[in-house]
Symmetry: D3
Subunit: 300 residues, 6 copies
């Protein structure tokens, strides 16, 4: 064999070997991936994410996928001649909107299941209503009733553990039921965060359409790789945090404070960002950690 | 306490005691209920069916629910300006129809889950795509390609057993995937029959909108209570069997021949028909059995 | 089918459906039934009780039966020319009396086992000596030694759990052994109470020959349906409690205070009283409960 | 320490070491001991047998005890003014006799349980009615109906295995029930033999009041130590076999032919005969084995 | 991030993704690695092999390591003034040689254990004597007794399964015992082959100091990548097979015929050859397979 | 049978019966035996010890063997022309000495394994490096670095429990590894003591070449049979304790204080001392116990 070819192979081997300590760190651990944004739209990115999840499962992780589908809901509502309305960023959800949302989200859900099974995974698509995984209270928007919009009040881990223990990957769409067993739409970030806490997950990952958190949004060189909770709290107070980022950061902090070890805001537009995050020392996006001791990225 | 009241209570007790041998007979056995027709439309009947299933579960049966939703699909297609087309009783299912069908069936599915959880059951709504429960081949209608209409070629019992063993009731909508993991619509009767066979169910029950099988459809007094497989085969040959009944009867016979002990065609328009069938010696509708020895109804 | 017949069947179904919440409430729970009085003498009542127990078992309860047999002991002693002697209601039990008591109680025990197996139950008849289920100390009658009469000092739950976990129903006759492994007769009410406490039973039921507790024994309309422990204690102090009822009520209170949820004094002379108590909202006899919150009978 | 004392201890150690291969041979194996005769009457012998059983249990065997009690039945019948009647060696058992027999045998049973628990064993006394361990048909005496005398037609091993698997020693009195769940007296030797076969026991031991089988009953030096089944069959044909020995030998042969490895007729009048048989190379009494290859006693 | 760096990372991700189907193929499967030659001498190669094994374990394989140590034995014998003697390639092994061989091999064994634990694995070093894993018969060299040289006659898989089931990696040195429990030296290739067969391994890998099998040893371009058993048998007959390769090839063929899926002769001098073989489509060395259908390498 | 012979057998039976309470006391308990001295050199004693261990295993104990091998190390070092050097009783252990020690100890280890398997035991020979059973820190001799001599800082019980739970007997040679995974020699007494503590052993036994502890070493009649920890501490202070005995006694006291119930210093030169200690009321050597309440030897 020629030396050149040999070197290429050796390099490949080294990549695998480099992954070793990362695999050991999370072996047998539960990780929650909030799946959304471009990574859920672009077909190639979608296939990349699915294969990344497959690898996570195979090397011994216990992945749970939580996804959204806001754009599809809006589009189907439009086809049905119904305009989408938002109050403070929350969709006003009357009975028919909820009906359509449930139809759409469950189909998106089953679509992901098929893609995962295509690469050999055993996946099960559920909503938060199945096994009463997500129990909700009605969520008000600054005191205003905007319909069937819920906030998680309780997570029942029984079904999720049953599935994980039997090597199925739960794929969850963020619909829950209230005490009267009516359906409610839940923000997918919130659902992922609540599930990560209840399942005592080691990692919670948000696949987003941003590069991460910038110290100064105007300065593209100010991306923050790692941030302790105290730093994040301080940052929230600084007034530099943009609208969309505010609830996400709050979610991250709450998750860490409830026992999740690391929360990541990843750029889902980069191919295999999930995998690079888990298996290399290349930090992509921003990680929220408990304190200084948990830092481990080397700047590159 | 007055004697009159006492007698009423004694009678109640006797009903429960009468149920004893029926409960013993099916304790720990798997039963598949094809749920459809009026029993799925009328709200009171719906609540009755759900409570019947709850009772079956509590006394130790392992129920699996398979449901359809043809009318809802037609209605939503209409709202989207799309006419439903049928060839030989099978819906012509192009890509968009399949998309809508999947949305609608999954929502119907989750609606049933909520109703079951409301009475205290632990239910999980899945389609045949989850855990690859239903693998299909394309089904032709007399040689003609009518799109994404599938016939079951394989049932994977793993997910169903995992759920049943952990006291969850599987609620299944009849969508499966082919080898390329594309979604296909399946006739709900066929799906129920395939699942009953694969799960080695003791009973398969069809909740229908007919009173049962009539020896002479014109003669309302000719309802057949019990029918052995040889009798059923002979009956099929007689030419007296109406259109809708033909495939259903064929399904029944096939199920019995694959090891299911009893198959019932029940009148779902009668309140608690499921329960009366299971817990009393009142035969409702028509039962298909293997042979003479399995008869047990006393004419009343 | 005629409407009239149909209505009858519907009513039957409704009785079963009414039982649903009661079954759910006690599913998987341990219940102890002290079996005695007329219900153990009258052949029809006996058969009723056995079938009631069978139903309890089938719908998922874990029943334990504790029985007495005082009358049979007296009768056999008489046949052997030995007069029965009582001091303060306790049988004076010399060595030979104990020998006869042990013979008689164990036979009664095995008789119950046969009746239970006849209706398809798996029953095992034991005394408190087997698996050292009941360890006793000698019980004095107001300071006086009356022979081999014991009071329970320790319950070993191992054998009972082994049997229950393997779907056997333990049928227990109230004989225990002291530290020297000598046999002692135990009051069956006391034995049932001690076992209910040790097994963390949800319910303890006394099948008796009275209608329940009367606020005023002379007034047949003053039957108490439900009584909290504070009420029961007050009632005990009132001086209105008859001789036989005193220790029974004390037992009830002690059981509740040790964690049993409900204790019932049922009229075993009413057919299926056990079943009516468990599966309907018809309160028969008197229930002792912890506090106001546990009331659930509607007056009828 | 003086040499003399030391030698004594060394000898003790050697006895234990000699037991090693015998313990290894039967570790984890089920053995059935038919307990009867003097060993059940003489108090010292009784204590010896119990301790022998304790040792068998502790070194890993799974012992099952089957006992009789004919003499006690006769004596109690006499006290009740009822004469015992025998036809061809079988007790004529009318309804009342059966009642008394059941009382007496169950008390003997519980007496053994107490003795076993006194040396630290976990024992459970059952009759063949419990858990339907012994199902019987009526046994005729040369065609004559002699009442409730049964012969085993089926052994249900479930309860026995449940007890053995949880480290309880089953102590069984030979009463079974017929299809109508009536009680029947069974010959204890027959019961032990049937249980040994059903439990696939490695050894079946009869504790008797004879020294073993003599080739010539008149010649006390003609005791047979080991006998293959062919030899036993030949011996049965020889006409030299005494009355009581005939059914016992037949039982032994049947047991061997059903898969029991060794059947022993031991002299229960010798202290610790059970233990000497199991743990030393001292053959006591007569062993029935399958064929020549299973011989292992050295003549001494 | 600069595009260049990004591309590098993407490439890394792709290497991991490429490994996916290979990981899926062998997940949960047992693989036996015969470890020897340069890969056991060169310190860097040694570390590479160990990390390769760590990765195999983490992604769900069940690896078993079998190693030799001939050179170390020769060297220690020399230090003790004892010359090594060989007959037909087998070491003449007198009692003292065996003693030294056992000392040396066990130390090599424990050295490997330490290296494996250093990278976080749970390893246990055993010889074939432990748990009687390897029982041997004396092996003659063309009829000549050459001492304590054994050939495997039986493999006891119990200890190996106990260790694998509890996530320990067995590291085995090729010493076995005969029926008299004397120690024997075994050829490591033979030991690995026997273990692979007994453990129903999916793969057996020989780490060697050759590039693989050449169709024509003189022609370096004639390396055979894949070879079916019929081809291998034909090749053996061709007379082109060199001395050292003969028994190895015979071992390979025997393993395949006993149910091992693939046997590999790898070049252990290439870094990470083990990993490249398992996780990439780069075939290194020569694979022996059952038949044409199992080919999967693409020529490169 | 003659009376004389019969008496001999009865005596044998009594020895076994006498063992009963001792077996009951330790059934299922873990015991650690430090094996060394003459009992490891003399062939007959060796066989005795092995059979004693076999008996302990068979009657339900969980034995762990820890052995040394100092004399063999010295002898092999001599053969290699290397003189052994000691500082304060500890072997100066340079790299080569450690290499030889590891070779020698592991061979001694496997020799014991073979002997144990010869009597039918399932044994597994490991060093403290396997499964990281023994993690060490470097041990200084009065502040002086004497090379690879370690003291146990942590015991990982996982491998030992895995082996014991699967009925293997662990045989351990006292080599451990430090944080850099270098090998260290450990004093076998210390290793046994550390393992007994970590495994929560009930008994720790030192097989030595002394008769036990003498109150006055010069007075052979002053052997101490039993000693509470307070007595032992007082004795240590008395100045009457000889050099070799000091660390051993300290080990004993430490073990008791860490939860081991009894520690024994046995005379391994007496045949079956282990067995006599465990199965008879003959105290051999000296026992260290917690307090007065644990005394149980009767002076003889």
């Amino acid at each position: 064999m020629e030396t050149e070819a040999m070197e290429m192979w050796l390099e490949k081997a080294n990549v695998l070997i480099e992954a070793l300590p990362y695999i050991q760190r999370f072996h047998g651990k539960t990780i929650v991936v909030k799946y959304g944004g471009s990574a859920m739209v672009d077909h190639e990115l979608k296939k990349d994410v699915i294969r990344d999840v497959a690898l996570l499962k195979l090397v011994g992780f216990r992945p749970i996928i939580v996804h959204g589908g806001g754009k599809e809901i809006t589009s189907w509502l439009a086809r049905l001649g119904k305009e989408s309305q938002f109050v403070n960023g929350l969709r006003v959800t009357d009975k028919e909107t909820m009906l359509v949302a449930e139809m759409v989200l469950n189909r998106v859900n089953k679509g992901l299941v098929s893609m995962m099974e295509k690469v050999g995974l055993k996946a099960v698509g559920i909503s938060g209503k199945d096994g009463t995984v997500l129990k909700v209270d009605k969520k008000l928007s600054k005191g205003q009733d905007i319909g069937y919009v819920g906030e998680v009040k309780e997570v029942n881990p029984l079904l999720l553990n049953t599935l994980l223990d039997n090597d199925f990957i739960p794929v969850i769409c963020p619909i829950g039921s209230d005490d009267g067993y009516y359906s409610y739409n839940i923000n997918a970030d919130d659902a992922a965060c609540a599930i990560a806490k209840a399942m005592k997950a080691s990692k919670l990952v948000f696949l987003t359409d941003i590069e991460g958190v910038y110290r100064d949004p105007a300065d593209k060189t100010s991306l923050i790789s790692e941030m302790t909770v105290p730093e994040a709290l301080e940052f929230l107070d600084s007034g530099n945090v943009g609208g969309g980022m505010l609830p996400k950061l709050a979610n991250c902090i709450e998750a860490i404070q409830s026992g999740v070890s690391r929360v990541h805001i990843l750029d889902g537009r980069i191919a295999h960002s999930l995998l690079l995050e888990f298996f290399t020392n290349k930090g992509i996006g921003t990680a929220i950690i408990g304190d200084e001791e948990e830092r481990y990225y080397v700047e590159q």
